[in-house]
Amino acid sequence: MHFFLMIGLVAFSILAVLSRDLLRSAISLAVASIFLAVIFFRMNAVYAGVFEVSVVAGLITVLFITTIALTRGDQEVIENKRHLLIFPLFFLILIIIDILVMKNLLGKIPAMVSSETGTFGEVLWNQRTFDLVGQIGVIFAGVLAVLALFRQGGKNHDGGKNE
């Protein structure tokens, strides 16, 4: 079951990359997210699964589809498919080199000191407090960036009209 879910995840991701229609790519990406969320639920990672479904499969798909709808019309971009044969070959060579190098290094990774106790909330708030502060900072920076971009775009648009 786990294997088939993984195959579905990779297949829909590759479909999202190779599909010509952008809308179809965005929807394939959402389906891949749902596969990933089911994998997380099966690994007992409930909170990560909920975030994956609600944020990645929901919010990011809405953002992608909004962008595609706003930029529709002149979206014909001719892609070059020549790399389709060359890239997997080099990637396979890279993976083989990586496996050969990492095989010796994997045994040297130290084990965690103790198995963790407590709930998810305690771990998140007590051990990862700085991450939370960073997340809040990143969200505010993103909101301010989007606001600044659209305000600037409006001004330029008006300026273009006046000229």
Binding site: L9, A16, T71, I78, D131, V138
Partner: protein, 102 residues
Amino acid sequence: MNNMWILNMGFVALLIGAGLYCLLTMRNMVKLLIGVEIIAKGITLALIASGYARDNLLVAQSLAITVIVVDVAVIATALAIIININRHTKSLDVRKLTKLKG
């Protein structure tokens, strides 16, 4: 490390490979962001699979949530930039961005 973890890492490599292929070869800007998104999926899967194998799932989940939140902020900002670029160049092609003149 058990066999399950190695299998998961193989799929992580496939996901990151697909994302890298998209980033290196595609010319559509929305497609490039889809590549970034697929790489982020691979990273999240690697974190959770490693936490599951080492029995440290709580820390792994908090790190995965951090990755997801940062990813959302990046994608939202990048899509806003794409909409702005599309207003100027009337295209989604990255090759049109070689001209700095507005």
